[in-house]
Protein backbone atom coordinates (compact mmCIF):
# COMPACT_ATOMS: atom_id res chain seq x y z
CA UNK A 1 0.00 0.00 0.00
CA UNK A 2 1.45 3.36 -1.00
CA UNK A 3 1.69 6.26 1.42
CA UNK A 4 -1.29 8.21 -0.05
CA UNK A 5 -3.55 5.18 0.06
CA UNK A 6 -2.47 4.39 3.63
CA UNK A 7 -3.36 7.94 4.77
CA UNK A 8 -6.78 7.64 3.14
CA UNK A 9 -7.52 4.29 4.80
CA UNK A 10 -6.37 5.57 8.18
CA UNK A 11 -8.45 8.73 7.76
CA UNK A 12 -11.53 6.73 6.85
CA UNK A 13 -11.01 4.47 9.86
CA UNK A 14 -10.67 7.42 12.21
CA UNK A 15 -13.77 9.10 10.76
CA UNK A 16 -15.75 5.90 11.25
CA UNK A 17 -14.52 5.65 14.84
CA UNK A 18 -15.59 9.22 15.54
CA UNK A 19 -18.97 8.61 13.94
CA UNK A 20 -19.49 5.40 15.88
CA UNK A 21 -18.60 7.02 19.19
CA UNK A 22 -20.74 10.10 18.51
CA UNK A 23 -23.61 7.85 17.49
CA UNK A 24 -22.96 5.69 20.54
CA UNK A 25 -23.13 8.65 22.87
CA UNK A 26 -26.26 9.84 21.11
CA UNK A 27 -27.92 6.44 21.34
CA UNK A 28 -26.88 6.10 24.99
CA UNK A 29 -28.14 9.58 25.83
CA UNK A 30 -31.35 8.80 24.06
CA UNK A 31 -31.84 5.40 25.75
CA UNK A 32 -31.29 6.38 29.39
CA UNK A 33 -33.47 8.92 31.13
CA UNK A 34 -31.41 11.64 32.82
CA UNK A 35 -30.54 11.15 36.48
CA UNK A 36 -32.41 13.35 38.84
CA UNK A 37 -30.05 14.91 41.37
CA UNK A 38 -31.27 15.55 44.90
CA UNK A 39 -29.11 17.42 47.39
CA UNK A 40 -29.46 16.35 51.01
CA UNK A 41 -27.78 17.85 54.04
CA UNK A 42 -27.19 15.88 57.23
CA UNK A 43 -26.72 18.02 60.31
CA UNK A 44 -27.22 17.26 64.00
CA UNK A 45 -29.85 15.96 64.24
CA UNK A 46 -31.90 16.10 61.04
CA UNK A 47 -31.80 15.56 57.31
CA UNK A 48 -32.83 18.36 54.99
CA UNK A 49 -35.04 17.65 53.19
CA UNK A 50 -36.47 14.89 55.32
CA UNK A 51 -39.20 14.02 52.84
CA UNK A 52 -38.35 13.16 49.24
CA UNK A 53 -40.74 12.15 46.48
CA UNK A 54 -39.41 10.00 43.63
CA UNK A 55 -40.87 8.34 40.56
CA UNK A 56 -40.67 4.62 40.04
CA UNK A 57 -38.17 3.83 37.29
CA UNK A 58 -36.57 7.28 37.33
CA UNK A 59 -32.86 7.07 38.10
CA UNK A 60 -31.82 9.29 40.94
CA UNK A 61 -28.60 10.37 42.57
CA UNK A 62 -28.60 11.60 46.16
CA UNK A 63 -25.77 14.03 46.80
CA UNK A 64 -25.41 14.07 50.55
CA UNK A 65 -23.18 16.41 52.53
CA UNK A 66 -22.64 16.93 56.23
CA UNK A 67 -23.21 20.24 57.91
CA UNK A 68 -21.06 19.38 60.90
CA UNK A 69 -19.81 15.90 61.84
CA UNK A 70 -19.76 12.35 60.52
CA UNK A 71 -23.18 10.91 59.80
CA UNK A 72 -24.55 8.01 57.82
CA UNK A 73 -27.36 7.70 55.32
CA UNK A 74 -29.21 4.41 55.01
CA UNK A 75 -32.21 3.65 52.83
CA UNK A 76 -32.56 -0.05 53.44
CA UNK A 77 -35.62 -0.59 51.25
CA UNK A 78 -33.37 -0.05 48.22
CA UNK A 79 -30.23 -1.53 49.74
CA UNK A 80 -28.27 1.71 49.66
CA UNK A 81 -26.17 3.45 52.32
CA UNK A 82 -23.16 5.68 52.68
CA UNK A 83 -21.06 7.35 55.30
CA UNK A 84 -21.48 11.13 55.16
CA UNK A 85 -18.26 12.92 55.99
CA UNK A 86 -17.71 16.63 56.59
CA UNK A 87 -16.17 18.36 53.57
CA UNK A 88 -17.14 15.60 51.14
CA UNK A 89 -20.15 14.89 48.99
CA UNK A 90 -21.38 11.30 49.16
CA UNK A 91 -23.27 10.09 46.12
CA UNK A 92 -25.85 7.32 46.16
CA UNK A 93 -27.26 6.21 42.80
CA UNK A 94 -30.29 3.99 42.43
CA UNK A 95 -33.49 3.58 40.49
CA UNK A 96 -36.61 3.01 42.59
CA UNK A 97 -38.24 -0.20 41.40
CA UNK A 98 -41.24 -0.19 43.73
CA UNK A 99 -43.78 2.30 44.97
CA UNK A 100 -44.55 3.12 48.59
CA UNK A 101 -43.29 4.99 51.60
CA UNK A 102 -39.82 4.09 52.85
CA UNK A 103 -37.83 5.44 55.74
CA UNK A 104 -34.19 6.46 55.74
CA UNK A 105 -32.02 7.14 58.75
CA UNK A 106 -28.58 8.02 60.02
CA UNK A 107 -26.81 4.76 60.79
CA UNK A 108 -23.66 6.26 62.30
CA UNK A 109 -24.15 7.19 65.95
CA UNK A 110 -23.69 10.96 66.06
CA UNK A 111 -24.85 12.05 69.51
CA UNK A 112 -27.87 12.78 71.64
CA UNK A 113 -30.55 13.15 68.99
CA UNK A 114 -29.13 10.57 66.59
CA UNK A 115 -32.32 8.57 66.97
CA UNK A 116 -34.28 11.48 65.51
CA UNK A 117 -32.26 11.61 62.29
CA UNK A 118 -34.79 9.97 60.03
CA UNK A 119 -36.70 10.83 56.89
CA UNK A 120 -39.06 9.41 54.30
CA UNK A 121 -38.82 8.59 50.62
CA UNK A 122 -42.15 8.34 48.82
CA UNK A 123 -42.06 6.57 45.46
CA UNK A 124 -45.01 7.12 43.12
CA UNK A 125 -45.96 5.61 39.74
Amino acid sequence: MNRKKRILVTGAFLMSAVLVSVLGIYIKADALPPERVIHITAKTFAFSPDSITLKKGEPVVFEISSGDRKHGFSLRAFGVRSDVLPGKVSRIRFTPDKTGKFSFSCDVFCGDGHEEMTGTVVVTD
Binding site: K70, S74, D83, D107, V108, F109, G111, E115
Partner: protein, 307 residues
Protein backbone atom coordinates in the same frame (compact mmCIF):
# COMPACT_ATOMS: atom_id res chain seq x y z
CA UNK B 1 -40.01 -16.93 88.23
CA UNK B 2 -42.81 -19.44 88.23
CA UNK B 3 -42.12 -22.98 87.14
CA UNK B 4 -44.31 -22.38 84.10
CA UNK B 5 -42.32 -19.32 83.05
CA UNK B 6 -39.07 -21.11 83.61
CA UNK B 7 -40.09 -24.07 81.46
CA UNK B 8 -41.13 -21.66 78.71
CA UNK B 9 -37.80 -19.93 78.80
CA UNK B 10 -35.82 -23.12 78.66
CA UNK B 11 -37.83 -24.26 75.66
CA UNK B 12 -37.12 -20.97 73.94
CA UNK B 13 -33.44 -21.08 74.70
CA UNK B 14 -33.33 -24.54 73.18
CA UNK B 15 -30.03 -25.36 74.76
CA UNK B 16 -29.93 -29.10 74.82
CA UNK B 17 -26.30 -29.70 75.60
CA UNK B 18 -24.42 -28.81 78.66
CA UNK B 19 -25.97 -25.67 80.01
CA UNK B 20 -29.33 -24.06 80.44
CA UNK B 21 -29.92 -20.41 81.15
CA UNK B 22 -33.03 -19.46 82.97
CA UNK B 23 -33.68 -15.77 83.12
CA UNK B 24 -36.05 -13.79 85.24
CA UNK B 25 -36.93 -10.16 84.76
CA UNK B 26 -38.10 -8.10 87.67
CA UNK B 27 -41.51 -6.56 87.39
CA UNK B 28 -40.48 -3.23 88.75
CA UNK B 29 -37.98 -1.48 90.89
CA UNK B 30 -39.80 -1.30 94.15
CA UNK B 31 -38.33 -2.82 97.25
CA UNK B 32 -39.64 -6.21 96.20
CA UNK B 33 -37.81 -6.23 92.89
CA UNK B 34 -35.85 -9.43 92.68
CA UNK B 35 -36.76 -9.87 96.31
CA UNK B 36 -37.55 -13.52 96.00
CA UNK B 37 -34.75 -15.99 95.73
CA UNK B 38 -33.86 -17.19 92.26
CA UNK B 39 -34.66 -20.87 91.71
CA UNK B 40 -30.94 -21.52 91.73
CA UNK B 41 -30.59 -20.37 95.28
CA UNK B 42 -33.49 -22.53 96.41
CA UNK B 43 -31.97 -25.78 95.22
CA UNK B 44 -28.33 -25.10 94.65
CA UNK B 45 -26.37 -27.72 92.78
CA UNK B 46 -22.61 -27.83 92.88
CA UNK B 47 -21.15 -25.60 90.15
CA UNK B 48 -24.51 -24.12 89.16
CA UNK B 49 -24.44 -20.38 89.51
CA UNK B 50 -26.36 -17.29 88.71
CA UNK B 51 -25.45 -13.79 87.70
CA UNK B 52 -27.37 -10.56 87.33
CA UNK B 53 -27.62 -8.51 84.14
CA UNK B 54 -28.30 -4.78 84.29
CA UNK B 55 -28.44 -2.72 81.15
CA UNK B 56 -28.94 0.70 79.62
CA UNK B 57 -28.78 2.68 82.82
CA UNK B 58 -28.16 5.91 80.83
CA UNK B 59 -26.77 7.78 83.79
CA UNK B 60 -27.04 11.50 83.02
CA UNK B 61 -30.27 11.26 81.06
CA UNK B 62 -32.81 13.96 81.89
CA UNK B 63 -36.45 13.81 80.83
CA UNK B 64 -39.08 14.06 83.56
CA UNK B 65 -41.88 12.86 81.27
CA UNK B 66 -39.92 9.72 80.51
CA UNK B 67 -38.39 9.06 83.91
CA UNK B 68 -39.00 11.53 86.75
CA UNK B 69 -36.70 9.41 88.92
CA UNK B 70 -33.74 9.48 86.53
CA UNK B 71 -31.34 10.04 89.41
CA UNK B 72 -32.87 7.42 91.66
CA UNK B 73 -33.54 4.45 89.38
CA UNK B 74 -29.98 3.12 89.20
CA UNK B 75 -29.60 3.49 92.96
CA UNK B 76 -32.83 1.51 93.47
CA UNK B 77 -31.51 -1.22 91.18
CA UNK B 78 -28.27 -1.42 93.18
CA UNK B 79 -30.34 -1.70 96.36
CA UNK B 80 -32.53 -4.41 94.79
CA UNK B 81 -29.46 -6.49 93.97
CA UNK B 82 -27.96 -5.90 97.41
CA UNK B 83 -31.24 -7.06 98.97
CA UNK B 84 -31.01 -10.47 97.34
CA UNK B 85 -30.85 -13.13 100.00
CA UNK B 86 -28.23 -15.07 98.08
CA UNK B 87 -25.85 -12.84 96.20
CA UNK B 88 -25.05 -13.62 92.55
CA UNK B 89 -21.59 -14.78 91.56
CA UNK B 90 -21.14 -11.63 89.52
CA UNK B 91 -22.94 -8.81 87.77
CA UNK B 92 -22.78 -7.67 84.16
CA UNK B 93 -23.71 -4.27 82.77
CA UNK B 94 -24.43 -4.63 79.06
CA UNK B 95 -23.75 -1.09 77.91
CA UNK B 96 -25.11 2.44 77.80
CA UNK B 97 -23.96 2.91 81.36
CA UNK B 98 -24.10 6.65 80.73
CA UNK B 99 -26.16 8.86 78.45
CA UNK B 100 -24.22 10.39 75.60
CA UNK B 101 -22.89 13.93 75.61
CA UNK B 102 -20.67 15.94 73.27
CA UNK B 103 -18.85 17.40 76.26
CA UNK B 104 -15.83 15.22 77.01
CA UNK B 105 -15.60 16.38 80.62
CA UNK B 106 -19.29 15.76 81.27
CA UNK B 107 -18.87 12.28 79.75
CA UNK B 108 -16.03 11.54 82.14
CA UNK B 109 -17.97 12.98 85.08
CA UNK B 110 -20.97 10.79 84.30
CA UNK B 111 -18.76 7.73 84.19
CA UNK B 112 -17.23 8.63 87.56
CA UNK B 113 -20.67 9.17 89.09
CA UNK B 114 -21.87 5.87 87.66
CA UNK B 115 -18.86 4.05 89.10
CA UNK B 116 -19.48 5.60 92.47
CA UNK B 117 -23.13 4.47 92.52
CA UNK B 118 -22.47 0.90 91.41
CA UNK B 119 -19.53 0.81 93.79
CA UNK B 120 -22.18 0.25 96.47
CA UNK B 121 -22.95 -3.21 95.06
CA UNK B 122 -22.10 -5.92 97.56
CA UNK B 123 -20.98 -8.30 94.83
CA UNK B 124 -17.28 -7.77 94.31
CA UNK B 125 -17.11 -8.95 90.70
CA UNK B 126 -18.72 -6.67 88.16
CA UNK B 127 -18.11 -6.88 84.41
CA UNK B 128 -18.79 -3.78 82.38
CA UNK B 129 -19.26 -3.25 78.69
CA UNK B 130 -19.84 -0.18 76.59
CA UNK B 131 -22.87 1.02 74.68
CA UNK B 132 -22.87 3.51 71.84
CA UNK B 133 -23.81 6.26 74.30
CA UNK B 134 -20.61 5.56 76.24
CA UNK B 135 -18.18 4.95 73.43
CA UNK B 136 -19.27 5.96 69.93
CA UNK B 137 -18.33 9.63 70.02
CA UNK B 138 -14.71 9.12 71.08
CA UNK B 139 -14.10 5.54 69.93
CA UNK B 140 -14.24 4.41 73.52
CA UNK B 141 -11.43 6.59 74.90
CA UNK B 142 -13.23 7.83 78.03
CA UNK B 143 -14.83 4.43 78.58
CA UNK B 144 -11.50 2.61 78.50
CA UNK B 145 -10.03 5.13 80.89
CA UNK B 146 -12.85 4.51 83.36
CA UNK B 147 -13.72 0.83 82.87
CA UNK B 148 -10.95 -0.87 80.93
CA UNK B 149 -11.03 -2.95 77.77
CA UNK B 150 -13.87 -2.82 75.28
CA UNK B 151 -13.65 -6.52 74.38
CA UNK B 152 -12.37 -9.29 76.59
CA UNK B 153 -13.11 -12.77 77.87
CA UNK B 154 -13.47 -14.33 81.28
CA UNK B 155 -14.27 -17.79 82.55
CA UNK B 156 -16.52 -18.81 85.39
CA UNK B 157 -17.23 -22.32 86.62
CA UNK B 158 -16.71 -23.90 83.23
CA UNK B 159 -18.50 -21.25 81.21
CA UNK B 160 -16.52 -19.09 78.77
CA UNK B 161 -17.79 -15.52 78.56
CA UNK B 162 -16.91 -13.35 75.55
CA UNK B 163 -17.52 -9.62 75.64
CA UNK B 164 -17.88 -8.21 72.12
CA UNK B 165 -17.66 -4.49 71.35
CA UNK B 166 -20.10 -3.43 68.64
CA UNK B 167 -20.31 0.22 69.64
CA UNK B 168 -16.94 1.97 69.70
CA UNK B 169 -17.11 2.14 65.91
CA UNK B 170 -20.04 4.57 65.49
CA UNK B 171 -21.17 2.64 62.45
CA UNK B 172 -22.05 -0.34 64.69
CA UNK B 173 -19.24 -2.43 63.28
CA UNK B 174 -17.34 -5.14 65.14
CA UNK B 175 -14.51 -4.85 62.65
CA UNK B 176 -12.02 -7.22 61.11
CA UNK B 177 -9.47 -6.96 63.89
CA UNK B 178 -11.96 -7.90 66.61
CA UNK B 179 -13.42 -10.63 64.42
CA UNK B 180 -9.94 -12.15 64.11
CA UNK B 181 -9.52 -11.87 67.88
CA UNK B 182 -12.87 -13.64 68.34
CA UNK B 183 -11.98 -16.42 65.91
CA UNK B 184 -8.63 -16.96 67.62
CA UNK B 185 -10.37 -17.16 71.00
CA UNK B 186 -13.00 -19.59 69.71
CA UNK B 187 -10.26 -21.76 68.28
CA UNK B 188 -9.17 -22.42 71.86
CA UNK B 189 -12.67 -23.63 72.76
CA UNK B 190 -14.05 -27.07 72.07
CA UNK B 191 -17.16 -27.13 69.90
CA UNK B 192 -19.22 -28.28 72.89
CA UNK B 193 -17.80 -25.61 75.22
CA UNK B 194 -20.32 -23.57 77.19
CA UNK B 195 -20.09 -20.08 75.72
CA UNK B 196 -21.92 -16.91 76.67
CA UNK B 197 -21.57 -13.80 74.54
CA UNK B 198 -22.21 -10.45 76.17
CA UNK B 199 -22.64 -7.45 73.92
CA UNK B 200 -24.65 -4.26 73.58
CA UNK B 201 -26.38 -4.24 70.22
CA UNK B 202 -28.20 -7.22 68.76
CA UNK B 203 -25.87 -9.26 66.59
CA UNK B 204 -28.72 -10.11 64.22
CA UNK B 205 -30.91 -7.75 62.20
CA UNK B 206 -33.64 -7.17 64.74
CA UNK B 207 -34.80 -3.87 63.24
CA UNK B 208 -32.03 -2.05 61.39
CA UNK B 209 -34.20 0.99 60.55
CA UNK B 210 -34.08 1.73 64.27
CA UNK B 211 -30.39 0.97 64.52
CA UNK B 212 -31.19 -2.36 66.15
CA UNK B 213 -28.51 -4.36 64.41
CA UNK B 214 -24.76 -4.80 64.11
CA UNK B 215 -23.59 -4.13 60.57
CA UNK B 216 -21.22 -7.09 60.50
CA UNK B 217 -23.07 -9.08 63.17
CA UNK B 218 -23.67 -11.96 60.76
CA UNK B 219 -19.89 -12.52 60.62
CA UNK B 220 -19.87 -12.87 64.43
CA UNK B 221 -22.75 -15.33 64.31
CA UNK B 222 -21.00 -17.28 61.54
CA UNK B 223 -17.90 -17.54 63.73
CA UNK B 224 -19.99 -18.76 66.69
CA UNK B 225 -22.07 -21.20 64.68
CA UNK B 226 -19.72 -24.23 64.90
CA UNK B 227 -20.07 -24.09 68.70
CA UNK B 228 -23.07 -25.98 70.00
CA UNK B 229 -23.70 -24.19 73.31
CA UNK B 230 -23.79 -20.46 72.69
CA UNK B 231 -26.14 -17.95 74.27
CA UNK B 232 -26.06 -14.19 73.72
CA UNK B 233 -27.19 -11.60 76.24
CA UNK B 234 -27.42 -8.00 75.09
CA UNK B 235 -29.10 -4.64 75.78
CA UNK B 236 -29.67 -1.60 73.55
CA UNK B 237 -33.35 -2.11 72.73
CA UNK B 238 -34.68 -1.37 76.25
CA UNK B 239 -37.03 -4.34 76.37
CA UNK B 240 -37.05 -8.09 76.59
CA UNK B 241 -36.68 -9.90 73.29
CA UNK B 242 -35.85 -13.52 72.57
CA UNK B 243 -34.63 -14.70 69.20
CA UNK B 244 -32.90 -17.71 67.71
CA UNK B 245 -30.35 -17.69 64.91
CA UNK B 246 -30.02 -21.40 64.27
CA UNK B 247 -29.12 -22.96 67.62
CA UNK B 248 -27.88 -19.65 69.12
CA UNK B 249 -30.28 -17.92 71.49
CA UNK B 250 -30.25 -14.12 71.82
CA UNK B 251 -31.87 -12.45 74.84
CA UNK B 252 -32.13 -8.69 75.28
CA UNK B 253 -32.62 -7.00 78.64
CA UNK B 254 -34.80 -4.18 79.85
CA UNK B 255 -33.39 -0.74 80.51
CA UNK B 256 -33.00 0.98 83.85
CA UNK B 257 -33.93 4.40 82.47
CA UNK B 258 -36.76 4.21 79.93
CA UNK B 259 -38.52 1.52 77.88
CA UNK B 260 -38.72 1.64 74.08
CA UNK B 261 -41.56 0.41 71.88
CA UNK B 262 -41.62 -3.02 70.27
CA UNK B 263 -39.60 -3.21 67.03
CA UNK B 264 -41.44 -1.39 64.22
CA UNK B 265 -44.62 -1.00 66.28
CA UNK B 266 -44.74 2.78 65.86
CA UNK B 267 -43.67 5.01 62.96
CA UNK B 268 -40.92 6.69 64.97
CA UNK B 269 -38.89 5.21 67.79
CA UNK B 270 -39.16 7.23 71.00
CA UNK B 271 -39.04 6.45 74.74
CA UNK B 272 -42.32 5.28 76.20
CA UNK B 273 -43.58 7.99 78.56
CA UNK B 274 -43.66 7.38 82.31
CA UNK B 275 -46.86 5.77 83.50
CA UNK B 276 -47.89 7.51 86.71
CA UNK B 277 -50.29 4.67 87.51
CA UNK B 278 -47.45 2.14 87.24
CA UNK B 279 -44.11 3.78 88.10
CA UNK B 280 -41.01 2.02 86.70
CA UNK B 281 -43.18 0.01 84.31
CA UNK B 282 -41.05 -1.49 81.55
CA UNK B 283 -37.81 -1.08 83.52
CA UNK B 284 -36.00 -3.94 85.16
CA UNK B 285 -33.01 -6.13 85.70
CA UNK B 286 -32.63 -9.85 85.37
CA UNK B 287 -31.05 -12.78 87.07
CA UNK B 288 -29.66 -15.55 84.94
CA UNK B 289 -29.19 -19.05 86.27
CA UNK B 290 -26.55 -21.15 84.67
CA UNK B 291 -27.59 -24.71 85.34
CA UNK B 292 -24.85 -27.07 84.44
CA UNK B 293 -26.43 -30.23 83.17
CA UNK B 294 -26.08 -33.14 85.55
CA UNK B 295 -23.34 -35.51 84.55
CA UNK B 296 -24.55 -38.69 82.92
CA UNK B 297 -22.89 -41.99 83.72
CA UNK B 298 -22.99 -44.70 81.21
CA UNK B 299 -22.64 -48.06 83.03
CA UNK B 300 -21.48 -51.17 81.36
CA UNK B 301 -21.41 -54.43 83.40
CA UNK B 302 -18.36 -56.59 83.04
CA UNK B 303 -17.89 -60.12 84.32
CA UNK B 304 -14.76 -61.42 86.01
CA UNK B 305 -13.23 -62.68 82.78
CA UNK B 306 -13.66 -59.31 81.14
CA UNK B 307 -16.28 -60.54 78.66
Amino acid sequence: MSKFDRRGFIKLAGLGGGIVFASSLSRGLGLNALGSLPDYAKGKVENDFYFVQLSDTHWGFAGPKVNPDAEGTLKKAVQAVNNLEEQPDFIVFTGDLTHTTDDVQVRKDRMSQFKEIVGALKVPTVHFMAGEHDASLDRGDAYQEAFGKLNYTFDHKGVHFIVIDNVSDPGAIVGESQLNWLKADLKQQKTDARIVVLTHRPLFDLYPDWDWATRDGSAVIDALMPHHNVTVFYGHIHQENHHMTGHIAHHSAKSLMFPLPAPGSVPKKAPIPWDTSAPYKGLGLRSIEAELKQAKYEIKELNVTGG
